[in-house]
Symmetry: C3
Subunit: 336 residues, 3 copies
């Protein structure tokens, strides 16, 4: 059984079916009115659909820069913790589609005691906006928001929970750069324990026929829970003891930051940190069409000398994020 990719449960309604349409009649738009909460909600067909739309967005942006697909639509960009990069990306996505924004930075109300409840805020914002993007420090908050909102909610990161648009843009980067996912070897490097990015990406990759490699400090290993999921889906993976030997036949090198604060003894950090830094030397032994990815921001884990290598895909990755977020916004608003 293990040589076939798992048959995905199709969590989305058939394209010509009758999805739940809370505020309109665009029956042909399968994602109309839906929430984007978790990578677990996507089947492989869903991903094909999203990436198809995202690719069209790319072509439109390259051709005309901006267009009026969402003219007159308003996005409430609700951030309970600062995340300039994600906030800016959603802002650009909405504006390149001709839409408008209500930006809300609610950083000061980190404590529930001081402000109003998330459901009340959401029920207020749904009066003003057509779609809500939510960044929150507490796991599960995106689901709560979606439960109370009549308008679609897109999870832009809820604590250690999910950050599904990041995982989607990571996978879309692979698709656009390498043309396929099946058959690839993806090596994940760095902090694999606390990084929700690598967890979500591993889950999405498990819908494809891939080989995974993990290289991390002992105390920052990929959690057993994820490894179990991979085994259940018959995804071959191996844990590496060094980058040497692992990079040579890697197609995607996914790098994350190893934070000093994770180590009880700073000396332990000093001992290992060098092993997780990508340098021009790392690139010498890599395939000519390998790509290096990073969720950014980076702080030293990829040397700046690597930036000019055509295989350095981490800035292009930001651009792919724009297209994926444009696609999601257009989809949940019934325009794609």
């Amino acid at each position: 059984m293990c040589d076939q990719p798992p048959v995905p449960s199709n969590s989305r309604p058939p394209r010509n079916g009758s999805p739940h349409l809370p505020f309109g009649d665009m029956k042909g738009a399968p994602w109309y009115g839906k929430d984007i909460l978790s990578v677990r909600q996507f089947s492989r067909d869903d991903l094909d659909y999203i990436f198809g739309v995202a690719h069209e967005m790319r072509e439109m942006v390259e051709r005309v820069g901006t267009f009026d697909l969402l003219k007159g639509k308003i996005l409430a960009n609700l951030f309970y913790e600062p995340s300039t990069r994600t906030s800016a990306s959603f802002t650009a996505a909405m504006e390149r589609l001709g839409g408008s924004l209500i930006p809300i930075q609610e950083v000061r109300y980190s404590s529930v005691a001081k402000g109003e409840s998330l459901p009340d805020t959401i029920r207020t914002l749904e009066c003003y906006a057509d779609v809500i993007v939510l960044r929150h420090s507490e796991t599960g908050s995106a689901k709560i928001a979606a439960d109370y909102s009549k308008k679609p909610v897109i999870n832009a990161g809820d604590g250690v929970g999910e950050h599904p648009t990041q995982a989607l843009l990571d996978l879309f980067t692979i698709v656009e750069e390498l043309g396929r996912v099946d058959g690839l070897t993806v090596t994940m490097v760095g902090d694999l324990k606390y990084g929700r990015t690598v967890h979500s990406l591993a889950r999405l990759l498990s819908l494809y026929q891939v080989r995974l490699r993990f290289f991390s400090p002992d105390i920052l290993k990929m959690p057993d829970e994820i490894l179990l999921e991979l085994r259940n889906k018959c995804i071959p993976y191996e844990v590496c003891s060094s980058l040497e030997g692992a990079v040579e036949d890697t197609d995607v090198l996914y790098v994350t930051r190893v934070q000093k604060e994770r180590f009880e003894d700073p000396n332990d950090y000093e001992k290992v940190k060098g092993a997780y830094v990508i340098t021009p030397k790392t690139m010498e032994v890599a395939k000519p069409d390998m790509i290096v990815m990073h969720p950014l921001p980076r702080v030293g884990e990829i040397a700046m000398e690597v930036d000019d290598d055509p295989r350095a895909a981490y800035f292009r990755q930001m651009e792919y994020g724009l297209y994926v977020r444009m696609a999601l916004l257009a989809m949940v608003l019934g325009k794609a």
Copy 2:
């Protein structure tokens, strides 16, 4: 004499007259170029006019979502203290009319010593924007801003002074939900001493034939100044000692928050707080067409179980606020 509503002084120019037109010639727009500073500036005719426009805004939003009535106009949204809800509402109002915003959060310059004077800031912003919305912690600041500005100024709350757009949206909610104001019984509950919301609403209601009821802790009673105004306008009111008996024939139940900090002795707060919380039990004895209102945010004074009661109007109230602010923006910019 007391059975007739007071004849309002018509503070606005006749609709076909010649209002002061500082930057154009739209003679047919009676509010063109005017400031919105205080509920005291409105006659009953004014309110009819505003609510007529606001109702049109509601119909337009329901039909098309957004339209380009204020395309090319720029609103400077100048907030010297944080107020996410009000700021977001004006943002949405301007965007649903096709206009743009300059958002300015000047929270750090709470002290005059550190920044420039309000008149200088206003004289700068009038170079950039077509209309200025001002939220400030000091009473009277909206008037100062309006005195210096050639562009219309809308007061979005100045300290314990005024918050006229809140009072207008409160009254518009009543008009839209119940179809009339004359003849209604309005019961105000909670902190009636420090809440500028209830003061301003009471003033506006005194232009109509209403009955008012006040229910508050002893230390948070409606100020004598307001009561005197009501008596002068022959508005019947009573001070209640409990919600029981008061709710039964109430048409509008207006709830505000009772803050623990208002009480010298926390025990006093604990003793009374329960009496000011609206629960499903409260709703059982209420009229089938009563509405519950709240300026929001709420923190416990209306149980969440009430939210699904169709008479819970406090979230719709937010939406009515959008229409009222759209109306005011269109009016002072000569487009309605």
Copy 3:
């Protein structure tokens, strides 16, 4: 030789030449894709060109308020230190041209240690935006940003370095108000040591046949470096010991703030401060067509009684800033 203005080195490509065109083919737009980093990059021809476009912007704004020259273009407004006035001015400029903004306040990341490097932020933003405006506390940061960005960068102030758009709007104010620059006497008053505004303006003025006067406390004198540049360019200047005698034949009185904190002994400040305050009395002896300028914010150095004098140009100066910034945005985006 000294009675001729220096022949400017023409730093911009000929208008019908072939400038570096990184992302298009608008060969007729000489500033297309260029960065605006320093006043030193402008020749007198450049200034003529910029002010010509800015004057057209003024006429368009006066006629129609807003127009769609930059519709679909996105400006990343990246501010690492707060500057409400400059930020609002660029926001208004972009919106009056029909464009959109990604506003980014990165104040909390003043330390490099906490956030990512400026080059990484820039390489991210160039994925989202068409042009980047940067305000930063470190001298030279605008140049670094421009080096990494494929999209044009406009310096909105980098530390004690440059603030070229301020100098341009100062000079444009003179041009629009007085119709010429050659032959004028410009008197600069206040803190001439730390004010980058007066340094940049002096440099731009040195491209013309002007007479300069400097009046400042001893410890806040115009730096020798600037004086040397003026001598090299044969610009006559004199250092004044009082405003009396200096104002009478002045055409432009440029006032800046003398900050108490600059003085070691507060008594020294108290002794001199009065001499640097412009009052109605100052205006009595001034020419009928002299103009008073100030980069704003002011804190007492021009009495508010002067505001109603038609020669008080400092609020109009803000408006000219709008037109200059509109011109620069349109130019670097290939539309002017």
